[in-house]
Each structure stands twice: as structure tokens, then as C-alpha cells.
């Protein structure tokens, strides 16, 4: 039992690790905050003077910022839409009694284990390449011009690649949720005269609402910071057509050597991520209660 004594001892024992974790988080954040107010460019070292909000002004008024902001939103919502719709579909299918179900389930999960860079390279060179790619071969086979995916629809291509990676995650979480559905509810719905579509809409989907919320929240955190897939495939181009905020910060600080501007972008990204998360929690967080 937790007595006052043991509780204060527990706090004492926890103190070092809590302090370490706090420092781990606070120190980089404060340094970023500090850099964001400096004229800190790697091309002119030693010249870093305090310039107030100028970095922020430049970052926020940059036309690339607006474009990459909407790209980020489009990327997140696009991937969420595809993975949720596809994930629910896959989960319903995988829940059926089919031969070799366990092997199919493992195989469905496989894309999640592939590193982002590797999967982006596979998609870029083997599937979406306009000359050698599988899709190009298929297009010429049916007699249409192959699509140059990364030139003609760069952001969409990236959405496809990222969706492919996250689909198994969504499918797996939703599958476990479907399996926890009380079979007697479905049987009761059967007797109540509900067809397959009614059963899905009125019984399965409401049952999944909590799992769907969890998938949305978890995926959003990771999708806001998609980077490797963009670097490997389009490098944010053409123009800024496939640049998201994460990638914009990278170009700012490491391609233009403007650490101050990059830091300002980083802080903006942190604020935006928090706005998104508050918004999401307001919107769907109540599903997680009870």
C-alpha cells in the first residue's frame, strides 16, 4: 500500500529521470527559440546578433511558407483519408474466416517494417519511374502515355507512398478493434433484420470510433513530420509543389545555411502542431473518454 512515506520515496526515486527527460526536451526547445531571434547564418559565422522577430517575419511572409503549409495539410488529410478508408476495408476483409488468415495478416503488416527511405526508393525507381517503372510498363501495355508521377503529380505521389506505409498500421489497429466486437451484437442485428451494409454502418463503424480516433491522432503526429519520402523522391519540387513545413525548415537551415530562419520555422511548426492537436482533441478527443 502507498503510505505517505513510500509515496515521497517514490517521488524521490523518480526525480532524476524526470529531470533528465525534462532537460532533454527543454534544452533543445530553448536553444531553437534562442537561435530563432538571431541573425545566425553559417555563411557569415561569428556575426550572430539579436534581430528580434525578423526571422519570423521572413519565414511567415515567404510565399513558400503558405504553399508548404497547405501541402502539409493536404499530405496529412490525404494520407489519413486513404489509410482510414483502406484500413477499415482491409480490417473487415481480414476479419473474415479465410484460408491462411494468419499469414495474410503478417504480410499485410510488412510495409510498416520497411524504412521510409527504402520504400520511397522502391516506389520511385521500380513503380513510378516513367521509363522503367511498373506503372509505366502497364500504361504502355494498355496503350496510353506513361505518367511522370513526380513531375506531374508530385504531392499526390508522395501521399500514395506514405499511405502505403501507414495503411498496415491503420488496418492492424482497426482489425484488433473489430475482433473485440461482441459477436452476439451482430447476431442480434441479424435477427433485427439488418443487412450487411446496415450492420456495418450501425454496429461495426460505431464500435470502431475509438480505434479510428486513436489512428487519426497517432498518424497525425507522424505525418506532420514526413521528410525522408520527400527528400528521396522529389526534393520538395518541382518548385515548392511537394514541400511541406518540415522540408521547408530543412531547406532554410541546411541548404541556405540560415540557422536563425530555420529555427524560427521550427518554432512556427511547433506552434502549428499544437494548434492541430488542440483542434483534433476538441474534435474527436471525446471518443477516447468513457
Amino acid at each position: 500500500m502507498a503510505t505517505t512515506n513510500s509515496r515521497s520515496l517514490a517521488r524521490l526515486m523518480l526525480f532524476p529521470s524526470v529531470l533528465l527527460l525534462l532537460a532533454w526536451m527543454i534544452v533543445p526547445l530553448c536553444m531553437t527559440l534562442y537561435f530563432s531571434f538571431l541573425d545566425y547564418n553559417l555563411l557569415t559565422p561569428g556575426n550572430d546578433e539579436f534581430i528580434g522577430f525578423v526571422n519570423y517575419e521572413f519565414f511567415l511572409t515567404d510565399p513558400a511558407f503558405i504553399e508548404s503549409f497547405f501541402n502539409t495539410l493536404l499530405l496529412v488529410t490525404g494520407v489519413l483519408f486513404i489509410t482510414l478508408v483502406g484500413g477499415i476495408g482491409l480490417a473487415v476483409l481480414l476479419d473474415q474466416a479465410i484460408w491462411g488468415r494468419n499469414y495474410v495478416r503478417i504480410m499485410v503488416l510488412a510495409p510498416f517494417f520497411v524504412m521510409p527511405t527504402v520504400s520511397a526508393l522502391v516506389w520511385k525507381n521500380m513503380l513510378m519511374n516513367p521509363v522503367n517503372g511498373l506503372f509505366a510498363h502497364f500504361a504502355t501495355w494498355i496503350g496510353v502515355d506513361p505518367i511522370d508521377f513526380f513531375a506531374q503529380m508530385p504531392l499526390f505521389s508522395i501521399i500514395i507512398i506514405v499511405s502505403w506505409q501507414w495503411l498496415p498500421f491503420a488496418a492492424l489497429i482497426l482489425l484488433t478493434a473489430i475482433q473485440s466486437l461482441d459477436r452476439e451484437q451482430l447476431e442480434a442485428a441479424d435477427l433485427d433484420g439488418a443487412g450487411p451494409i446496415s450492420k456495418f454502418l450501425y454496429i461495426v463503424l460505431p464500435h470502431l470510433s475509438r480505434a479510428i480516433t486513436a489512428v487519426i491522432l497517432i498518424e497525425t503526429i507522424f505525418l506532420l513530420s514526413i521528410f525522408a519520402e520527400i527528400l528521396v523522391t522529389t526534393s520538395g519540387g518541382p518548385g515548392y509543389a511537394s514541400t511541406n513545413i518540415t522540408y521547408l525548415i530543412y531547406t532554410q537551415s541546411l541548404l541556405q545555411f540560415d540557422v536563425g530562419g530555420g529555427s524560427a520555422g521550427g518554432i512556427v511548426a511547433v506552434i502549428l502542431a499544437n494548434i492541430v492537436s488542440i483542434f483534433l482533441m476538441r474534435l474527436i478527443g471525446k471518443n477516447l473518454e468513457g
Binding site: 447476431e187 442480434a188 442485428a189 441479424d190 435477427l191 433485427d192 450501425y202 460505431p206 464500435h207 468513457g290
Partner: protein, 341 residues
């Protein structure tokens, strides 16, 4: 209307025959209880009647029409599940309305039907709550409400009271019996509890290992069980069985006496033994008497009996209250058994 006829119905899961050929006629308006130990196939048969399990062979007729391959929703039956199977995200009102909405009924009609069901089952004050906010008994009532609004030709109950506590179970038992009297609809009720079976049923079907041992009214089963299994299953506490030494002219292998038919005597009787554990229930007393043959007999005595642990007593039973079973466990006719004895 709600007569159900089973003809040579069987069910196998792979090579295991869960239901061996069963014939049963359920009359319109009847309250029939399927009772038996767990794993005897009674729930499976109920689910086959509902259409939730396929029938391996044989036919199920509902109101004279072959319904063996009819989907559950088209059979016109309503089922109350052991877990209630309420839809947790819907309010009580929507739970009850669900089958009506599926049947594309008009909102006004649905509203009157819900109001009606709520009145019968005392659910008025709970209509806007979710099932999670209700107690077990209330959930049970919602499940019944969802069943009655459809006006089915028969109700199927799958151990509906087994998740309730003892006192609530007695109440719900009464409510369901009351409901049967007022609706006069066929009810098929599955339970493993013989008390529920005895108190509620018009007729009882006793199941054992995939077959029906006996069908009859509660008193028929109590007074004239066809075999040792039914005799042991019906009645609480259980009937006492004693093995008898076989003789050439006597087919009796086992005799059975119910605890309530044993009479305690201080000086003489058919059996002599030592009193073991005594259970005082106030209205009655159960004595466990170890007799000389090594068997332990349960005796039901008066509530205020003054017998102590370790007392030597004699037990008696009127010969016409003793049942005789042959080596296969079948009940022997009383006259024949008495003549040879």
C-alpha cells in the same frame, strides 16, 4: 402464430455430432424450456431455430412452412441473448427502434411502439440513457423490449437470467412469465437451471449429450421421469440414488428417492445411518446422512428439526415414492418393480 416443428434435425461441427436427430413439436403460444447440463446442445438447437447456425440435416418448420434455409431476419423470431447484445452506442430508445427502422416503419409508428414497450417493461425513465448506464436487470428489460416491438411469432431466450444476481433473477423470472401470459406468444427458453425450467415452463425438454431425454410438463418430469438422468436433473436438491445388488428375477439396478420423500425416524426404518452436515434454511433443513452401504443421502426435513451432527437415524420412504431404474438407467414401471421386489 408461432408453432415450430423440428423434424430429424441434426447438427455436426466437423466430425462431432452436437445434435443427434431431434424431433420436437412446439405448439403456438407455448412456453417451452430447453434444460440440460452445459454442452448438451440446447443453445445450439436454439440458435438453429433462430437461423444463426446452419442445420446439418433435417427440417425446421415455422408455422408449417419449411424455414430450414431461411435467413434469421426472415423467420419472424426475436431472440434475447445471454449478454443482452444491446448496441452500446445507441440510447435505449434507439436500441428498441433499431429493428423497426430496419423494417422501414414510419417514425410515428415507431414512436407509439416504443412508448408501448416502455410502458409494459417500465422503461419510460431510461429511454434516453445508454445501455452502459443501466443495471443488469434494466438491460435485460431493454433486450426484451427490443424483442417485443417486432411482434415476433416466437421469442427465443438464451440463458437470459444467468448474468443477474439471485434476487433479481427471481424477479425477472416472474416478469418473463407475466409477459408470456399477457402476450400469449410462443416462447422458447434455454437454461441450465432446473429451477427456472420448473417454475416458468408449460413444457420442459430435458437435453443430454445432443438428444432430448424427455419432454413433458414440469410435474410429469418430476413424478414420472423416463430415466435416471431426468430423475437426477429435475428436482432440487438432487434425487438420491442407491445401487442395488442385482438378482436374476429383479431387473432393478438402481433405486432413487427424492430428499423430500425421505422420512426420519429415531427407532426403525429401511436405511440406517449417521447424520453428517446439516444445512438450516429456516423454512426447511437439509440433512446429509451417511448410510451403512456407504452412500450419502440428502434428506429434506422440517425447518425446526432438532437433529444434531453425528446422530444415528433411520430413514423411511413410502414404496410408491421410490423409483426403480434398470441397468441402462431406464425407469421401470412401478407395479413391475414392486412385484419382483
Amino acid at each position: 402464430m408461432g408453432s415450430i416443428t423440428l423434424k430429424q434435425v441434426t447438427k455436426s461441427f466437423g466430425k462431432v455430432n452436437v445434435i443427434k436427430p431431434i424431433d420436437l413439436e412446439i405448439k403456438d403460444g407455448e412456453f417451452i424450456v430447453f434444460v440440460g447440463p452445459s454442452g448438451c446442445g440446447k443453445s445450439t438447437l436454439l440458435r438453429m431455430i433462430a437461423g444463426l447456425e446452419d442445420t446439418t440435416s433435417g427440417t425446421i418448420e415455422i408455422d408449417g412452412k419449411d424455414a430450414t434455409d431461411t435467413p434469421p431476419s426472415k423467420r419472424g423470431l426475436a431472440m434475447v441473448f445471454q449478454s443482452y447484445a444491446l448496441y452500446p452506442h445507441m440510447s435505449v430508445r434507439n436500441n428498441i427502434a433499431f429493428p423497426l427502422k430496419q423494417a422501414k416503419m414510419s417514425p410515428e409508428e415507431i414512436e407509439t411502439k416504443i412508448a408501448n414497450a416502455a410502458k409494459i417493461l417500465n422503461l419510460d425513465t431510461y429511454l434516453d440513457r445508454k445501455p452502459g448506464q443501466l443495471s443488469g436487470g434494466q438491460r435485460q428489460r431493454v433486450a426484451i423490449g427490443r424483442a417485443i416491438v417486432r411482434q415476433p411469432s416466437a421469442f427465443l431466450f438464451d440463458e437470459p437470467l444467468s448474468n443477474l444476481d439471485a434476487s433479481l433473477r427471481v424477479n425477472m423470472r416472474l416478469e418473463i412469465s407475466e409477459l408470456h401470459k399477457s402476450l400469449a406468444t410462443t416462447m422458447v427458453y434455454v437454461t441450465h437451471d432446473q429451477v427456472e425450467a420448473m417454475t416458468m415452463a408449460d413444457r420442459i425438454a430435458v437435453f443430454n449429450a445432443g438428444i432430448i431425454e424427455q419432454v413433458g410438463t414440469p410435474l410429469e418430469l418430476y413424478n414420472k421421469p423416463v430415466n435416471q438422468f431426468v430423475a437426477g436433473f429435475i428436482g432440487s436438491p438432487k434425487m438420491n440414488f442407491m445401487n442395488v445388488k442385482s438378482a436374476d428375477n429383479n431387473p432393478t439396478a438402481t433405486i432413487g428417492v427424492r430428499p423430500e420423500h425421505l422420512v426420519i425416524s429415531k427407532d426403525s426404518g429401511m436405511w440406517h445411518g449417521t447424520v453428517g452436515v446439516i444445512e438450516h434454511l429456516g423454512s426447511e433443513t437439509f440433512l446429509h446422512v451417511h448410510i451403512e452401504s456407504g452412500d450419502t443421502l440428502t434428506v429434506r426435513a422440517d425447518g425446526n428439526c432438532d437433529i444434531q451432527y453425528g446422530d444415528k437415524v433411520y430413514l423411511n420412504a413410502s414404496p410408491d415414492k421410490v423409483l426403480h431404474f434398470d441397468a441402462n438407467g431406464l425407469t421401470l414401471p412401478l407395479e413391475a418393480a414392486l412385484k419382483t421386489a
